[in-house]
Symmetry: C2
Subunit: 355 residues, 2 copies
């Protein structure tokens, strides 16, 4: 494992978690789970037993100071001059790692996901690293807990000889509709795509070079000439690693998947956030923030008391109340996916300072 490096892309606005998550202060900077550590810090904590100090955080210039403050002493920070999506972020880290050690193996883990079982997580990543060392592009497939329509899926195929749990990937598929999602689960072959990849740095760049040769060359060149980042970054293609590498590689049978039954969640909306909290007593809401501020009578749902003010709830079911110092959101558990519409509306109404 001493050649294993954890790469943590720290980006994404998380508009469905507004007003907890803001464009200027996205969800990875927040302690959304009430653990005392932000999601970014939890991600660093999670990978440290595997990668030690070999952690690379890739974030945007806008969040660099906050990330630096939260991850003081963490291995290395790569600062993107502008957002160029995940291929540029992870590819840049890969090029930097490859330049220092041609044998380096990287695992990429988003800064704003949660994992419940650390022990299983480590076991899964160790298996993935072992497979990556043999040259594979390895992804982690989360056993689906329900027919989610908010995640992409990975269809697994035949087992990998000699590996405890890994299988070949037949294909990556986009977020399905409800019927498709149910059909996927019925087959037993589909896993949620958690966007985790484990691969040799040089192998990742070689695969990228197969479909996007200039992009791979640019990244390798930037690793050799870091002083040119400012000038040349904005010219990089804006594409997700899934589209740039994982999907075409899967089509050629070159991707493996290790099942990751470690209780993963991307906290994509407020229901997801409520789901990772300790279940509240029946007939009471789940509570984030300061529970001493909340007086709930005949009320269920989720309340985040992060505004410092008393919140009294009376006779409201399945309500989502997110109270912050400058903005209050009230919706229902049925409508949490539409919170992004509120963010859109606020922008359209000239209230961009709130989002």
């Amino acid at each position: 494992m001493e050649r294993f490096h954890a790469v943590i892309p720290a980006g994404g606005a998380g508009t469905r978690l507004w007003p907890l998550s803001r464009s200027g202060s996205p969800k990875f900077l927040h302690d959304l789970t009430g653990s005392g550590r932000t999601l970014l810090q939890q991600t660093v904590d999670r990978v440290t037993p595997l990668a030690g100090e070999r952690v690379v955080i890739v974030t945007g210039i806008r969040h660099a100071d906050a990330v630096r403050a939260q991850a003081a002493g963490v291995g290395r920070l790569l600062i993107e001059p502008s957002p160029r999506d995940s291929m540029a972020a992870i590819g840049w880290a890969a090029a930097v790692l490859e330049a220092a050690d041609p044998e380096a193996i990287l695992g990429s883990f988003a800064a704003d996901h949660v994992v419940r079982d650390q022990c299983v997580f480590e076991e899964v990543i160790r298996e993935a690293v072992s497979l990556a060392d043999s040259g594979a592009l390895v992804t982690i497939g989360i056993p689906p807990a329900y027919p989610a329509t908010g995640f992409g899926y990975i269809q697994s195929g035949r087992p990998v000889a000699g590996a405890p749990t890994a299988r070949h990937v037949r294909q990556f598929v986009e977020k399905p509709d409800q019927a498709q999602a149910r059909a996927y689960l019925a087959t037993g072959e589909f896993r949620w795509n958690a966007g985790m990849f484990v691969v040799r740095a040089s192998r990742l760049l070689d695969l990228l070079a197969r479909w996007h040769p200039e992009f791979a060359a640019q990244l390798r060149d930037l690793a050799a000439r870091p002083e040119q980042i400012e000038d040349r970054w904005a010219a990089l293609p804006k594409i997700a690693i899934d589209h740039a590498v994982a999907e075409p590689a899967a089509d050629e049978g070159e991707v493996l998947v290790v099942p990751g039954a470690f209780g993963w969640d991307d906290i994509g909306d407020f229901n997801s956030l409520a789901g990772i909290m300790p279940p509240p007593p029946a007939g009471t809401p789940a509570t984030l923030g300061d529970p001493a501020l909340v007086t709930a009578m005949d009320t269920t749902g989720l309340v985040a008391a992060c505004g410092g003010r008393a919140i009294a709830l009376l006779g409201v079911d399945n309500l989502v109340v997110i109270d912050t110092p400058d903005a209050l959101l009230i919706t229902t558990t049925d409508r949490v996916q539409d919170v992004k519409l509120v963010v859109d509306r606020l922008r359209a109404d000239g209230r961009a300072e709130l989002v």
Copy 2:
């Protein structure tokens, strides 16, 4: 009308309007209707065309400074050392007025009610004053708009000879249940009791003397020795004017009622408050406070944006959201009567500073 004095008892916590109304800052001190004037100021404005500068506000020591600030220049302020209910408050004013002018006529009007039609109000009070001048205890009966269970009722009887609209009162009845209220309305004889009385000051005290002779004597004595208020006030009986005088007098056929079709409301709860606001466009909530703070999508009900923060509402129907700087209430239009339970709970939980 030059012998007519308006008495405005300014008291009552209005716990069903928490957190807009607080024990330390009750509803009469607030501009609940967004008119630019507080309910107390609106009440003063309403009676001034009838009483000129002959206005007496009776309030508790706790609110004296606030009342003085809001009603600067208004006739006279009587400050109760402690709350002793409406008979003591109005009776004290009556005794003070009688001492200055034995022919004085008073009309009592709560400081936290609203009236829609000023013109009709004045007409009704003029008729009541004319009847009171002849020695009657006159009350105003509000034509019931629906079978309310939150008000007491006045049953009217035979017409009063020579009066345009007045009738004799058969009885005052307490707040009915739903079935009773419907039965009352079906008779056409019942009016809401708005707690307004018009009567000669001396006649009111004489009637009080009939059932509570010592109480009446104490009030008259206090009017003569105002320096003793501090010491003797707390010993006065704590009783409503309805029970002390109006009900027994009605039983003896000595009360008249003038119908008051001037659009009255006591703003007893948030539905009542919403009802006196301009109706919002269909599918949108009624909004108090700063409408620029509110972003409402697929939402109905009432929102009070008085906390200075942005409020986003998504997919919530019949919701009541009352946002203030230190406390937020969320309930439904079905549960507004139970807001007092929230106040009770907050007191029980040691959060008395909020109520």
